[in-house]
């Protein structure tokens, strides 16, 4: 079967960031290197697991972003993906999900994938939109927030367990072609193997340019970035660590949560 994984680059979740001069995007400071989104790694891992289980499976990875995002495709190749596709955009920064979806749809429509996997959301925008919108655009069946997936080729379907509220899971059978978004789980994404890294570094990426068919009018516009409003006014404790510990104990005693 033919699998496609959609991946993107983002700063690590705990990277220090600030709004840049354009007021339209951010810059990352310190030593944090951008990397593949955490949930995307789970999607790649799931694709590789299926490849190991179902003979004849090939896995492609696609990214829709600026040239430097090639690093996430190399990472995916290192994890065991067969082929990397880079759908280039000229600039980075905020991208409307509608635009990303139309670019990826144009790039992959003719390639007849059986299964597309994405992360449940990215780590920077955390929109959770591109996967399910892409599914609808390609007329694929779709299920989101999955923690476990099993392919049944003879029945042309996948079985998915999706995480829902209250510590419960919903079990779903999905006809192929399907798009599944992956939530984090106990399936730890593997590290690239040495042999795969060597292959990844020498392998050519397929670079394509696609023009979004979405006009600017239908996409939302980012007007301004700012620091978030605080819902509670946190009092920051001052002094040494011991001073802070003493003050916290005193605050908690006054509130009678500590006796």
């Amino acid at each position: 079967m033919k699998i496609l994984v959609c991946v993107k680059q983002a700063p690590p979740a705990d990277a220090p960031i600030k709004i840049d001069q354009s007021q339209q995007w951010v810059s990352v400071y310190g030593h944090a290197l951008p990397q593949m989104g955490k949930y995307d790694e789970y999607a790649v891992e799931q694709a590789i697991i299926i490849k190991e289980q179902v003979p004849g499976t090939t896995v492609d990875a696609i990214t829709n972003g600026p040239a430097e995002w090639a690093t996430v495709l190399r990472r995916a190749l290192g994890m065991g993906v067969d082929h990397g596709i880079q759908a280039l955009t000229l600039e980075g920064g905020y991208a409307s999900a509608l635009k990303t979806v139309s670019c990826i749809a144009l790039a992959v429509r003719a390639r007849s994938y059986d299964l597309i996997l994405t992360g449940v959301m990215s780590e920077d925008l955390a929109q959770g939109l591109v996967g399910p919108m892409l599914a609808e655009t390609l007329s694929f069946s779709c299920v989101t927030s999955c923690v476990s997936l099993r392919v049944d080729e003879s029945r042309n379907c996948v079985y998915a367990e999706r995480d829902i509220e209250g510590g419960r899971r919903q079990l779903v059978e999905l006809a192929l072609p399907a798009l599944v978004t992956m939530q984090s789980s106990t399936n730890r994404p593997r590290y690239p193997s040495l042999s795969n890294i060597m292959r990844a570094n020498s392998q050519e990426l397929e670079v394509i340019t696609v023009e979004s068919s979405e006009d600017a009018v239908s996409c939302e516009k980012l007007l301004r970035l700012s620091s978030p409003q605080k819902t509670r006014s946190a009092v920051f404790l001052q002094g040494s660590s011991k001073d802070k510990a003493r003050e916290l104990l005193s605050i908690l005693r006054k509130r009678s949560v500590l006796h």
Partner: protein, 325 residues
């Protein structure tokens, strides 16, 4: 056609879920900026019964989309029935609760309706007669203001809009349509309750919760010792810790875990991802300990401690022992 603002209700076991009321509150905010009628849409086998609750809550119209046989959520059913039911409503804005369910059917429904889609909406304000939508980016560290052209589907961040019960003026009514639907591509096989939420979490007055910032599994020992300072306390954690198998999933606080509201919630090394905040925002008093002064958790905290977690928790235990005779 008269324009409308649509709210897609979420319901379970015959009752509207609290997030549905929050989506209604978001719709009311938009209505103040751009007057239009609000229509709450309920989908399912028991849509008519559930619609009655929506009518009792607000003086807006309610559309019950009765789907025989649809006794629990199915994404394919929701996308299909809603794309038909919404056709005649002239919806400018469609408000969907930001739960795993809303995120499952919402984006696809938007595509089907030719609408754009914005998620994690936490605030709406007016600018030149237009609604501007606010959401956060980068794990809560940055706030973004977005404008969108109608029609747009809005996925509403849980815990962000407050519903206030108001007097019913008696203009409300339920319209019922019945839609026949059979699954073609998505079959629901059932539910698994692998990780029933720990009753200790529900009953605890104090929850000491650990996140990725604890770095080493051995540091959970410190978390347990801090929890033992308090009567009726429990230890919990964020999702990454449970994925690492450092804590069982039944102790996970957040959107896909437990929702808690103890007297004290002590967040240790938790960055404050939206999915976690959704599960603990209602706590009466929140103390956050984190090395990163920019961490989003501090926006939700009453008391903030910027310190190395290991050092600070050890000091807290030591000072507590010193002060207790």
């Amino acid at each position: 056609m008269e324009r409308s603002i649509v709210v897609v209700a979420e319901h379970t076991q015959g009752r509207l879920t609290p997030v549905t009321y929050e989506a209604m509150a978001c719709a009311l905010e938009i209505q103040r900026i751009q007057p239009a009628r609000i229509v709450t849409v309920v989908v399912g086998e028991d849509a008519v019964e559930v619609a009655q609750e929506a009518i009792d809550a607000c003086d807006q119209s309610v559309l019950a989309v009765k789907v025989p046989g649809l006794d629990s959520y199915n994404g394919e059913a929701y996308r299909w029935t809603l794309s038909h039911a919404l056709c005649g409503l002239g919806a400018s804005w469609i408000c969907v609760p930001g739960t795993t369910q809303g995120f499952d059917f919402g984006p696809g429904l938007a595509v089907r309706l030719g609408a754009s889609c914005l998620s994690n909406i936490e605030r709406v304000f007016e600018q030149d007669g237009q609604p501007i939508f606010v959401r956060n980016l980068f794990n809560g560290k940055i706030s973004a203001e977005l404008s969108a052209a109608a029609p747009t589907l809005l996925i509403v961040q849980p815990g962000s809009f407050r519903w206030e019960r108001h007097d019913i003026k008696g203009r409300s009514y339920v319209e019922v349509i019945t839609v026949e639907w059979a699954p073609t591509h998505t079959r629901l096989l059932g539910f698994k309750s692998l990780y029933p939420v720990d009753s200790a979490l529900r009953d605890a007055l104090v929850i000491v919760s650990a996140g990725r910032g604890i770095e080493r599994r051995e540091n959970l020992e410190l978390i347990h010792r801090v929890a033992s300072l308090f009567p009726r306390s429990a230890v919990a954690g964020s999702r990454p810790l449970c994925d690492n198998q450092w804590l069982p999933y039944r102790l996970q606080v957040g959107q896909t875990g437990a929702t808690v509201a103890p007297d004290l919630y002590m967040a240790c090394g938790i960055s404050g991802a939206q999915q976690h905040l959704a599960g603990m925002r209602g706590s009466k008093f929140i103390v956050a300990v984190n090395t990163d002064p920019e961490a989003a958790i501090f926006h939700e905290a009453d008391v903030g401690v910027v310190e190395d977690l290991e050092v600070f928790l050890a000091d807290l235990l030591e000072e507590s022992a010193r002060l207790t005779p």
